[in-house]
C-alpha cells in the first residue's frame, strides 16, 4: 500500500450523525471484521471493486468492448469474470449510464483535505469537522495518521469512527490527533462476538480501555441488532464494563434493513434478510437500564 494515499470508497458531505455539527465523513476501505449486519459491505474489502447496477444498464455493450482483458460478457445482464478482471476500470469510464461503477479511489492526503475544506464554512458555523469512518479506518493506519495530522494542522475538528479492532500501537499513534472517538461495542460475549463478526473482542475491549485510561473523548456506539445483542445480559455486561472506565456516553444505533440491496449488487449473501428493525419502544426499554446506571444515552446518535 502506498503510505500517503488511501483507498476511499465514499465521501459524504453534510453528515449530521457522525459527531458534532455539520461534518464531512470520509469512508476508508477495508475492514478486519465480517459483521452479519454490516451496512457498508462495499467497505469491507481492502481492494477496489467494480460493481454492476443492473437497473441502470441499457445493454449497449460499451463496457464489454472497452475491457482490454475480455472479462465482461453481455447477456441478459453484463457478467464479469473476476479471474480475468484486472481492475483497469475501463468499463466504468465507458459506461454512460453509471451501471458500471467502482468502489474505491486512491486519494492523497491533499486530495482529501481539498475536498474536506470545501465545507469549512459549515464546520466553522456548526462546530463540525471531519469524521473518518469505513470500513475500519485503522486498516489504513499510516494514511489515517497522516490525514488526521493534516486536518489538525488546518484546525479541523476530527472524529474517528472505529470498530476498535486494531493494533494498540496504531490506536495510540493516531489518538493525539483525534478529538473524539466513536467506538463500536457490539457484543460483550467473546464467543458470540466471534460468531457474528468473525473475530473475538478482547483486542477491541483492550483498545477501548486504553483510550479511556488515557483520557480520550469517546462515545460508545452500540448497533442494536434484534436477537443478537439486545438482550439484558449483553447490555448489563456493557454497563459493567464501561462503568469503571468512566465512559458515560452511549449511542444506540438501531439496525435497519436498508443495506440489503447493496449485498445483492456486490454478489454477497445477506445474513439478516428476515430480521425486523427494533421498535422505538424496544430501544427505550434498552436505554432505560443504561440510563439508570448513569449513562447518557442517545438513540440514533442524534436525539
Amino acid at each position: 500500500m502506498e503510505p500517503r494515499r488511501g483507498l476511499v470508497f465514499n465521501l459524504m458531505r453534510f453528515a449530521l450523525h457522525d459527531g458534532p455539527g455539520i461534518r464531512t465523513t470520509v469512508f476508508l476501505k477495508g475492514c478486519p471484521l465480517d459483521c452479519w449486519w454490516c451496512h457498508n459491505p462495499e467497505g469491507r474489502s481492502p481492494k477496489r471493486q467494480v460493481v454492476y447496477v443492473a437497473e441502470r444498464c441499457i445493454h449497449c455493450g460499451d463496457c464489454v468492448r472497452a475491457c482490454p482483458e475480455g472479462a465482461l460478457q453481455l447477456g441478459e445482464s453484463v457478467v464479469r469474470d473476476p479471474h480475468l478482471c484486472r481492475l483497469h476500470t475501463r468499463c466504468v469510464d465507458a459506461c454512460s449510464t453509471g451501471a458500471q461503477t467502482v468502489f474505491g479511489r486512491w486519494m492523497s492526503v491533499s486530495d482529501l483535505t481539498a475536498e474536506i475544506l470545501k465545507d469549512r464554512i459549515f464546520f466553522d458555523e456548526s462546530g463540525g469537522g471531519v469524521t473518518v469512518s469505513g470500513g475500519e479506518p485503522l486498516t489504513q493506519a499510516d494514511f489515517l495518521e497522516a490525514l488526521l495530522a493534516a486536518c489538525h494542522a488546518l484546525r479541523i475538528h476530527t472524529v474517528v469512527d472505529t470498530c476498535g479492532y486494531a493494533e494498540s500501537h496504531a490506536v495510540e499513534r493516531i489518538a493525539s490527533n483525534v478529538d473524539l472517538f466513536l467506538f463500536d461495542l457490539k457484543l460483550m460475549n467473546p464467543e458470540k462476538h466471534k460468531k457474528y463478526t468473525g473475530v473475538r473482542n478482547d483486542r477491541i475491549l483492550a483498545n477501548l480501555t486504553l483510550l479511556a485510561k488515557s483520557g480520550r473523548a469517546v462515545i460508545v456506539r452500540i448497533p442494536v441488532i434484534p436477537g443478537v445483542n439486545d438482550d439484558e445480559d449483553n447490555l448489563a455486561a456493557v454497563s459493567r464494563f464501561l462503568t469503571p472506565l468512566g465512559l458515560r456516553n452511549v449511542d444506540l444505533l438501531p439496525w435497519h434493513q436498508i443495506a440489503a440491496g447493496k449485498y445483492a449488487r456486490l454478489g454477497l449473501t445477506y445474513r439478516m434478510e428476515d430480521l425486523l428493525p427494533p421498535t422505538e419502544e424496544h430501544l427505550q426499554a434498552i436505554a432505560a437500564p443504561l440510563r439508570r446506571d448513569g449513562f447518557h444515552v442517545r438513540i440514533g446518535g442524534l436525539s
Binding site: F9, N10, L11, M12, L16, H17, I22, S96, K118, F122
Partner: protein
Amino acid sequence: MNERVAGLRRETLETKPSISIERAALLTEFCRNDNTTSVPIRRARAFQYLLEHKEICIGPCDLIVGERGPAPKATPTFPELCCHSLDDLDVLNSREKTSYAVDRQVRQTHKEVVIPYWRGRSMRDLIFAEMSPEWKAAYEAGIFTEFMEQRAPGHTVLGDVIYRKGLLDLKADIEQALSCLDYFHDPEACAKRDELRAMAIAADAVMRFAERHAEKAEALAAVTTETVRRSELLKIADVCRHVPAHAPRDFQEALQAYWFTHLGVVTELNTWDSFCPGRFDQHLYPFYRKGMEEETLTREEAKELLECLWVKFNNQPAPPKVGVTAAESGTYTDFANINNGGLKRDGSDGVNDVTYLILDVIDEMHLLQPSSNFQVSKKSPEAFLKRGLEIVRQGWGQPSIFNADAVVEELLRQGKSLEDARCGGISGCVETGAFGKEAYILTGYFNLPKVLEIALNNGVDPLTGKRIGIQTGSARDFASWQQLLDAFRSQLHHFVDVKVSGNNIIERLYAMYMPAPFLSLLVEDCIAKGRDYNDGGPRYNTNYIMGVGPATCADSLAAIKYHVFDRGDLTMDELLEAVAHNFDGHDKTRLLLWNKTPKFGNDDDYADPILQDVFNAFFDEINGRPNTKGGYYRVNYLSTTCHVYFGSMTGATPDGRKALEPLSDGISPVQGADQHGPTAVIKSAAKFDHLRTGGTLLNQKFTPQLLKGDEGLSKIAQLVRSYFRLDGHHIQFNVVTAATLRAAQAEPEKYRDLIVRVAGYSDYFCDLTRALQDEIIARTEHESFAPATTEPVTV
C-alpha cells in the same frame, strides 16, 4: 386561534374565487360619461367613482373591514388594462387549475357593457399594437415574457408614511407642493399641477371609502341587539372615521389604516405583487407597546386583530390572468409578502415582540396569503431564526428566509442611501427594494437556455423554423468553446435589446395613460416631485429582468465544453443531431450527457465557473442600462412558475434535458443534478454574485426527519447562517416527502390543504399543473443519512 378567527379562516378557505363585474361595470359607466381631459385627474375621478359606489362589505365577525370586491374572494377585473374576451371568461370559469367562477349575469354584463367600450382601448391592446415584429417574434417564441401586458407596474412596498401621517396630512403636503410650482421656469409645472390635484382627489376618495364603512358599521350597530357585537361595530365605526384620514392612534387603527391603504392601491390598478406593508413588525411595534403599557391591549387581542387582517389578505385572490401571464404566474396568490425581523433604520437588530407575534400568527393561520418571510441578519438572535425554522419545518412552505445584510449591500450597490437600504427588504418572491421610496418594476422573465438554443442554431428557433435571432454562425464550425460563448453573448445582446426597447415603449404608455395617483401619494418623493409613480416620481426607479434557467443553461454549456471541446468523445454534429431529435434514437448520448458531465450544484470546479460565465453575460448585458424614468436596469433570478412555461417553449438541451420539460427553477441546480447534498448546493449557489443582483431564489427540499428535534433545527439554522455568510440572498425549504406528494397526485381530494413552496411563494399542491407537480417531486430530495443508510457515491 379563537372561535371568531377559526370561523373567518374556515370561510376564507371554503369560499371559491369568482369574478366580480362590479369594478368593470362602474368604471365603464364612469368613463362613458366623463369628459375630463387631464389623464391623471380623470384616473383619480374614476377611482373616486369606484370607491363611492362599490358595495361596502362588513362581515358578521369582522374586526378589520373592507374587501376589494363586493364579497370575500369576489375578484374584480381591470378592463382598462386587459379587457377579457368571452373566451377568456369561459376559460377562467372552466380551467382545471386556478379557476374563477363566472356566473351568467357577469358574463352578460361583460359582453354587453364592458367589451363594447374597452375592446381596442385597453393597455393590452395598445401595447401589442406598439411592439415591433422582432419583439413579437421573440415573445411568441418564449424568449421573454412581458409583465405589464395585463397588469400594472406596482412592485412596491409601503414604508412608514401612513403611521406618521393621515391622508389629510398628505393633502397638506400636496397643497404645499402646489404652492411651490414654478410656472415661470418649469415647462412641466402644469403637468405637475394636474398630477398633484389627482393625488388630492385620490386621497379624498379613500377617506370617503373609510367613511362609508363607518356609516355601514353604524347602520349595522343600530339593528344589532347583541351587545358585544354592537360595541365592536361602534368601535369599527370610530376607527373608520379616524383612519386613514388621520394617523392611527392605536394598534387596531394601525391595521385598519394599512388595510384601507392596501385596498386603495389594489382597486386603483391591478398592481403586480398586490401591495405590502413592508416592515410590519417595526411599524406596528410602537402601537403595540403603547397598548400594552396603557393596558388597553393584550397580546391575545393584538393576535386576533392580526389574524383578522390575515383573513382579509387571503380573501383577495390575484386578478385573473390569462395566456402567457397565467403560465408564468399560475396561482391565486397575489404575492403580498410580510417581512419580519431584519434591521432597523439605525442598523440595529429589528426583531421585537411584534415579530414573534406575527410569526405566531403565520404559524396558526396556515394561509396561502399573505406570503411571509423572515429576514436574518448577523445581528438577529438565534431564537428568532429558530422560531422561523420551527414554522418552516411544518412543511407548508412558509415563511421563506432572507439575508438582511445581503439585501442592504445589494441596495447600496444600486446607489441607495444606507438608511434607505436598511429600511428596505423584499417583496413578491425575492425582489429587493427600498420600501416606501422605490418603484422596482419586474418587466419580464428571460429564457436563458432558449437563447443558447438560438445560438446553437445560428439565429433560428428549431421549434418553429423561424429566424428570430441574429446570425452568429453555424455551431458546427465553432473551433472553440470561447466561440460558442461569444455566439451566446451576441444572441443575448440582441434579445435584451429587443426586450428593453419594448419595455421603454410600455413604460411610456403607462406614464402617459395609466398614472396611479393614489399609489403616488404613498411613495416618497412623488408629491415633492409632482410626478406619478409610473413616471419616475419615486426616489428610486429600477427595472428588473429576471434570468430563468441559469442552471439548465450552464449545464448545457458545460456539456458542450466537456464532451465536444475538452474530451472530444462527442462531435458538435453528433450532439446537435441528438438534441435536434430530442434524443430519440440517441439514448446513449443523452445518458452520457446526463450522467457523465460536470453539473452545477455539486460545488464542482468545472461546472460552477461556467455558471459564472452565464451570470456575467446576463449581468453585463442588463445592469446599468437606463430606463425612461431616470433609473436603471438590474438583474435578478427567480422564476415563479415560468421555468415550466419556458421549458414548454424550449427544445431538448445539451445537458440531457428533453424537449418541453421544465427548466431549472430560480438559481437551484437542475432537478436531480445535485448529488452531493445541501452543503454542495449552497457552495455552488454562492458562486452567483448575489450582491450584484436584486434577488435570487434557492429552493431546497428536505424530508421532515432532517429537521426533527432541536438538534435538527440547529443544524438547519447553521446551514442557513453559512449560506448567508457566503452572501446568499434567500433560501427556502420544502419540507415534504416525495411519497406524500405522489400520494397527493393520486388522491388530490385528500390533500387539498397541502401547501408547498413553489418558487418565491407557496401554493396548494393540488392547484398546480401536473407538470409543475412532477417538477416539484423531481427536485432533489435531500435526505441526511445516518451512515447505515448511505447509498455510496463513487468518488
